[in-house]
Each structure stands twice: as structure tokens, then as C-alpha cells.
Symmetry: C2
Subunit: 363 residues, 2 copies
């Protein structure tokens, strides 16, 4: 078998697949990449037990077959190649990679040693890739990081016949992103945050076919990539009822202006005390202050205030506030339900997004 393929495309494709394949594993087969050489393309596949991936690449091919080899070495060799074209020549035991004056021989492994990955032959649903990725990337930050937080470490997708919603929360903040389109699938699934990151990277283009397997696996595919995502088991909290809807005070302003002011003031915040910044709103003026070991910082912003006869003083973790603002591009509303109950951030130009942040206890 002989294959000729542009170096950059081969390197890019392998770069995506090797991100998923483990560098080291107690099961050495897991570090292998399988290559199917078909009439006019190469099909790469691998797995880390949480995510199976398959990637297709058009190529000039002579002969067909199937081989496996260590994914990371193969990818590293390809990245270092001098020329623009790569020639791959397979025999029974070796792959010769040549480009320019350079050639290298990599030992092949029995394809049966690589993990068996099995993608759906039919897909029942379909997403718009751009919408799916916008929804996931707008809420991803709110998923928990700590190991013990179990189900909070995933992003929930709620799929119905008329709409779709992505939600993430770690118990201290929450974000959702809502789309008024059906995917054709129905159900609720929780995708591990690490798998969500791959969907965001790989599936933003074109149409994304989808299929649910017994509530345990979500398969997604576009023209180039197929992913099987192992789903999380457990019950996601009933978040709807904790989102407040009465707000004595709310303000509207540019997301960027608030975000930058919070970030500057937070330089002085005490990192060991929840990175606390204080907000005080009165008569259309928002004052942000922080105080730490080394001193105190403050900044004031003019805002448009509803509930203008009221004032409110409350405190947040600066990082949580900045995260909540990041998905909003332009004007936004921050609505305060009280000093100890959640505040809600919404995007005035895009009703799809909502973020909730619980204030710090200041008592």
C-alpha cells in the first residue's frame, strides 16, 4: 500500500486524534492509532474509553488495508517532516514515511491490538454544528472541576422535539444556553466536560448527525470526524426552581466594561478569601472595590439602573463574575434578587444565554 497526502492536513488530522489517545496507559493497545486505507481516503481511529474518535482524510491511495501503530510517535514524526507532501509506504511490518530527503521507518502493530471502535451505521438526529458548539462553549465554564463533585463535572443537554438546552453548574453558579431548534433526538444526557471540550474543537462546522445509544452513549458526526461520547450517570439538580425571578435592583451596561473593571479591581482581592470583590449600586453608579493584604482598589462605572430608588451592596468571587460575563458580547443586564440570593446575568441581544451567580456571604 502506498499513500500520498499533503503534510499539513495529515499533521492537523493526527493532532486531533492524538489529543484523545492516551500517551501512556496500563492497556498498551489504547496508545495505538488504527489506520484504514480505503480507495480514496485514510480513516484514523482511536479511543480513551471515554471518547472514541474517527477522522477521515482524502488521499491518493494505491492498495487498501488496515494497520495500527503508536499514535504519538507517528504524529510527532509527521509534524517534523520537511516537505509539503508525505509518502507513506506500508509493508507487512513497517511503515516508511518519506518527505524531501528524509525517510523514517516505523514498526507496525497488529491492527487487532488497537481498540475496537464502533460507530453507528445510522444517525437519527441532526444538529447545526455552529449552534451546538455555541451552546456548549457558552456554559462549559460553569461545570465543576473537583473530582468529588461527580455529576457537576458534566454538561447537561436537554433535547426535546422543539428545542435544545445546554446547562452546567457547580452549585455556586449556573449557565444555560437555549436553542429553539430540535435535534431530532429526545432525552436528557450529561456529557463529561472533557468530552464537551472535544466537541467544541472538532464539530463546529457543517451539520452534525447524532444518535443516542441506550442513554449511555451519544454519537456525533460531521463530514470529517465521528465521536462516541460515554455519558455520565446520575441525576442533575433541578436547577430551574433556584433561578430567581424577582429583582429589586438591576443594571444594564456593556459586558466588556464590567468585565475589565472587575478584573482590574480584583488584582487586590484576597485570593485565599474567595477572590472577593464588593459591588455597591446606588443612583446609577456601580462601585467595585476589593481589599486584600496589600491594600485596596476601586473603580466606578455609570450604569443604567432599574429600581432606581433602591441600593444594594453585595460581594462575588471575581472569577465567577468574569466567567459569567465572558459569553456576552455587547449589552447585558445584571439582576440582583438580594444580597445572599443568586444574581442573574442575561445578554440583551441574545435571549439564549443566562448565567446565575451566588453572592459570597459577607456577614
Amino acid at each position: 500500500m502506498k499513500v500520498q497526502v499533503p503534510k499539513k492536513q495529515l499533521a492537523d488530522t493526527l493532532g486531533h486524534v492524538e489529543r484523545i489517545i492516551p500517551t501512556r496507559s496500563s492497556n498498551p493497545g489504547l496508545s495505538l492509532i488504527k489506520i484504514e486505507i480505503t480507495e480514496n481516503e485514510l480513516v484514523f481511529s482511536g479511543s480513551n474509553m471515554e471518547i472514541d474518535i474517527q477522522a477521515r482524510l482524502k488521499a491518493d491511495v494505491e492498495g487498501i488495508g488496515q494497520v495500527a501503530l503508536p499514535a504519538h510517535v507517528f504524529s510527532q514524526v509527521v509534524k517534523s517532516l520537511p516537505g509539503e507532501l508525505v509518502m507513506l509506504t506500508f509493508n507487512d511490518v513497517e511503515l516508511e514515511i518519506s518527505s524531501g530527503n528524509y525517510s523514517t521507518k516505523l514498526q507496525l502493530v497488529e491492527p487487532g491490538s488497537a481498540p475496537e471502535v464502533d460507530f453507528p451505521s445510522q444517525y437519527g438526529g441532526e444538529f447545526d454544528g455552529a449552534s451546538l458548539v455555541t451552546a456548549l462553549s457558552s456554559v462549559r465554564y460553569a461545570a465543576a472541576v473537583a473530582e468529588y463533585q461527580a455529576i457537576f463535572r458534566g454538561v447537561k443537554l436537554e433535547l426535546s422535539d422543539r428545542k435544545m438546552r445546554a446547562v452546567a453548574t457547580d452549585g455556586f453558579r449556573l449557565a444555560y444556553y437555549h436553542i429553539d431548534e430540535s435535534s431530532g433526538l429526545e432525552g436528557e444526557v450529561i456529557i463529561p466536560a472533557r468530552s464537551v471540550d472535544e466537541v467544541i474543537k472538532l464539530l463546529s462546522k457543517g451539520s452534525v448527525r447524532s444518535e443516542l445509544l441506550q442513554g449511555q452513549q451519544l454519537s456525533l458526526a460531521n463530514e470529517t470526524f465521528q465521536l462516541n461520547l460515554k455519558l455520565m450517570e446520575g441525576t442533575f439538580p433541578e436547577y430551574d426552581r433556584v433561578i430567581p425571578n424577582q429583582f429589586p435592583v438591576s443594571i444594564t451596561l456593556e459586558s466588556d466594561a464590567l468585565s475589565q473593571a472587575v478584573s482590574r479591581v480584583a488584582v487586590m482581592a484576597d485570593k485565599t478569601a474567595n477572590n472577593r470583590v464588593d459591588l455597591f449600586i446606588k443612583e446609577g453608579l456601580l462601585q467595585i472595590t476589593a481589599e486584600g493584604t496589600y491594600g485596596r482598589s476601586q473603580e466606578a462605572l455609570e450604569v443604567s439602573q432599574e429600581g432606581s430608588d433602591s441600593e444594594i451592596a453585595l460581594a462575588f468571587n471575581a472569577k465567577y463574575l468574569e466567567d459569567a460575563l465572558a459569553p456576552v458580547g455587547g449589552e447585558m443586564r445584571v439582576a440582583f434578587s438580594g444580597t445572599t440570593t443568586p444574581s442573574v446575568v442575561t445578554d440583551l441581544d441574545n435571549p439564549s444565554y443566562l448565567a446565575m451567580v451566588v453572592p459570597l456571604r459577607t456577614g
Copy 2:
């Protein structure tokens, strides 16, 4: 005291000084920066006991005085400022930093708590900054990294009435850079590699005044920065007599071509076995090969060969070879004294530079 100064320049200057000042130290005074406010400039100083630094910055000043405060917090606040101009207002206990709508107050510390740094009032010698930095940066890579290698972890400067030479070696490779200019100083000093890095970053511009203090401290100063560098104690090896001068085979070629070929082939080299690449030279052809767990790679380069009736096969640590080539811009000569004795790299356009690399034992 009030000071007005452009943000970017203040941030850049503080960035340099804080690189030297420790973030944490058992002596809390060491993490302070001292600021002298003079008629028309700010003079910042700090120390890590190995390096004392002083940096000057022109500013609009009202009042004069001297204060100290935690260096890293001050620098971080300045970096995050929104405006282009910064106003610093000092009172007895606080520094108020304001820019745009933002203001912050940092607590000041008694200036006596900051380390006392003392720079020479007169300098006896003078370097051209660009030459000094070229010499040091061309040999820096050859200094040892491991803690136990003591004196090998420094760069030696040999200063005489007619020339100057920078040398570094870790016992397996050596590099020197020679300048036919006198600094006005005479003697031999060994500068810790970490201090050499600061000289390279800070003193490449203009003329660099210099002074030796009792063989224990080298002071260097240009218009903006002054450094006191604590020197290393110990005896540097007599390296001259280990540089060979008989070469049965030598080749000339472009430095970049060899460097890139070695780097590509080395992808397959066994990192646990000295990252070995093999060179074989015969009839004007240089073949580079490497073999590791996963396979074998090779590349051939046409070279101009002296000693053309001979051939030679030897092996190197690929990293050492690449390091030795890096300071050479164009055509170079690699001269082989034997399969187990050092090889020598010289720059055909610049006789100042010489590098020596000991081949790996291949038996």
C-alpha cells in the same frame, strides 16, 4: 509626592525588576522594591542576593522621597491599569495608583526594610553592550544545569588588555566567543548562568560600564539599568588543551540545513539513551540516522568534505549538536578529530565562535 508616568514604560520597567526580586523569601524584605523619587525620575531597586538591580525611569515628579512596597503586587496592579497614563500619589503610609476611572491604594513599607543595594560610584571598564550580549548568548547553552556541577553552572569571562572571551562548558561540550576588544578590566570571572540571562535581557543596548569588586562582584551599568552580579568561586577547567587541532575529516555546510535534518531524524532517537543520532560521512555525503523503540529514521545531506579519501562514523546527543549549531547563522565547518575525541564547530563567516562536542561512546 506625586508622579505622572506612561503606563507602558512603568509596566515594562517593573517587569524587569520583578523578575529578579523573589516572590517569596524567608527574608520578607527581599520581596520589596524600593522607589527613589528624584527631581525627574523614578529609581527602582531590588535584590535576590545573587543579583542587585536598579532601573531608572523618566517621570513628571512633584516632591522627592523614598518608599518601599511589595514588588509583585505593585507590578501586577500597574499591568492591569486601563489608561495610558498613571498617577502615583504617595503619602506617609499609602501609595494611591490611579488611571482612568480606576484607583487603588497600596500600603507602603518602611524603606529601611528593603534590601540595601549599593552600586559603584565609578566604573573602570566599558563594554559595547551588543558585543557583550552576543558573546554571552552564544555560549550560555553550554553551561551545566545540574546542581552538583558547581562551577560548570557559570559562564567564564576572560578579560585582558586586548581582548575578551566568554566560555561555558558542562564537561561534554564547550563553547567560546572571542572579541578583540578590551573592556578596560583585567581578570577572570565566573558569572552564574542565571545572572548571565539577565545581562542578556537588560544590557544589549548602548555602552555598558563595568567594575570588578575584589574578584567577588561584577557591576555592569547602561543608561537604564545597573546590575551587581555576585561571582562564583572556584577554578574553571583548563579547556584550551582539550580542544583538538588535528582533524582527519571535516565538512562544510549550511548550519540551518544540518540543524533541521538532525532535529527531524532525532524524532526517532531513544531519549533514554542520550538522544543518540549517528553520523556517517563518506564521499561528500553526510548520512544522519537514529533508531529507537518505534523504528528508524534517516536523512542524507550533500556536504563539501575535506579529507575526502577518508570516512568517519560517529554518534552524538542530538540536542548537543543542535545547541552547538544554533549560534551559527550561515556556513559552518564541522571538524572531526576522531570517533571518540571531540568534534569542533566553527562559523565560517565569524571566527569569534567555536563549539566543541564530545561524541557518544558507541561501543
